[in-house]
Amino acid sequence: MTTLEAVMIAVSKLTYSYAGEASMNFPDFSVQKGEHFLLLGESGSGKTTLLHLMGGLLRNRTGSIVVDNTDLKGLSEVALDQFRGQRIGFIFQKNHLINALSVEKNLMMAPYLAGLPVNTSRIGEVLSNLGLSAKLKSNVSELSQGQAQRVAIARAVLNKPLILFADEPTSALDDKNCDRVIHLLMDAASDSQSTLIVATHDQRLKSKIKNQIQLA
């Protein structure tokens, strides 16, 4: 059975409601350190909401979310920001790189905003793992779609987060690229020993990640 120390995320009795809408109920579940999980469900089933709740982008009023032995509800706003910056990495369907900055400066933002020292050798290491060493000084606008997505992955894993949340990373991609991106994600998560949670309705990923949580 699982020991307490190894539990990375534990969700129990969690509900959430947007203003004027019906309340969403989430199943209880827990995720072990280093595990890869798939969060499945149709559009509107609350995948993104659950991801944002676990990542501290939204705050729950009922139930509990314990991440790395910390109940998120007990953290102040600023403490939650810092907690998120230092322990969690996000990958979204769109890359959301900062266009005004070069690739290198985009990556430097991650440790800077998390309040961690900027480690240039770590940036070089992550970029070379993703085959992007040559793009260090490039402008974001010079990157191809695929390259931009890899930079976004690099940014998410740069601080070696305990948890990597990915929201629909593959749904807009063809089969070949879908396959490539999910493997990149899983490899990057393994490299930085991060727990990986992928929220998706993309059925193609079912065969890639065995642990699954189904939302109604």
């Binding site: 706003e77 920001d81 959301h96 266009n99 991650a110």
Partner: protein, 418 residues
Amino acid sequence: MSLLILVWNYLKARPLNTAINIILLSLGISVITILLLVNGQLTKKITENVRGIDLVVGAKGSPLQLILCNIFHIDFPTGNIRLSEAEKISRNRLVKKAIPLALGDSYRTYRIIGTTKDYADLYKAELSQGDWWKNNLEVTIGANVHEIANLQLGDEFVSSHGLTLEGHAHNEHRYVVKSVLKKSNTVLDNIILTNVESIWEMHEEGNESIADHATVLPSDSSYIPSRLVPSVAANDSVKEITSLLIQYRSPLGAVQLPRFVNSQSSLQAASPAFETARLFSMLGVGAEILMGFAYVLIAISALSIFIALYNSLKERRYDMAIMRSMGAPRSKLLITILLEGGILTFLGSIIGLMVGHGVLIILSATMVEMNKAGISGMVFFWQEWIILGGSLLLGLLCAILPAVQAYRTDISEVLAGN
């Protein structure tokens, strides 16, 4: 990495927008700077030139012209007054000191003034070379005359009538430079000093008999030398001067003396303090219009900066949300926007101040008139700090609303894509 680098890159990413905001503001700031510098230096200079002169007495005409001519030496004389009448004024018990001025000639537009040493003492003038003028046709020249008109110690020159280069040349007599004044930033820098007799000698060239008469001193006991020009008799009925500069013995002089002078049919008294105040209020209208124009420019630039920041919020809502997801607290987004407004107005005001000084440096280097007026671009006023501080404040003010908007951004909503 820092917020400063981030903001700088945001500004660089929209070069045209950034440039127009900075240019608009710097235009307004440079106009204000130029007005500040010119006004400040003129006021200082005018008060320095007026210092110690309570009243100017001259021929009837415009009182302002009397002041412009006899104190600032930039206008023509109103006419001449008889030495004997000036003598009467100078004997008034309310007069502490009376200095005669005889004008009329110039050398290369620099006015030659026949007067006494008292006139130079009024400005506490000191010599940089040579000795004070003593005899007829000896002159002491101002620092600018030495430098710009290139007159050296011992040089001889011929004066011309009036203040222009085209005036009739007095070829028969030559002045000789005996000394050069130290630069004092007063009118003395731009004039040539000699005794009153020299001016008379110049203009009596056609009438030798009078000149002879003047040099022969009567020896009878009724002869009383003039207080103003001791070489002639106090009751001389022929000699004329242009004006008399007067210092009061007591404040009572300000009340009685102008009335006493103006009651004499041929004389007029003008107060430098009053006339320069009148001059300032006339020039002030032009300066105020320019100032108003500058404020309009600054207001437009403030509006433009506000709009730019507000629009950028829409473009950057994903940037801001992603920054929050990477751990940035709300306050960092607030500071980013404030910093952007502050940097724009800081650059605008620094460039505006530099342009303002630069324009005056170029003008004073290329225009002799500016140089003669003693206006320089290398002078700094403490009010420039107010301009700088005010601009920064303006930038923060423009940024407050967008910054608060950024502060309130709901990251989850933005990232979820609705």
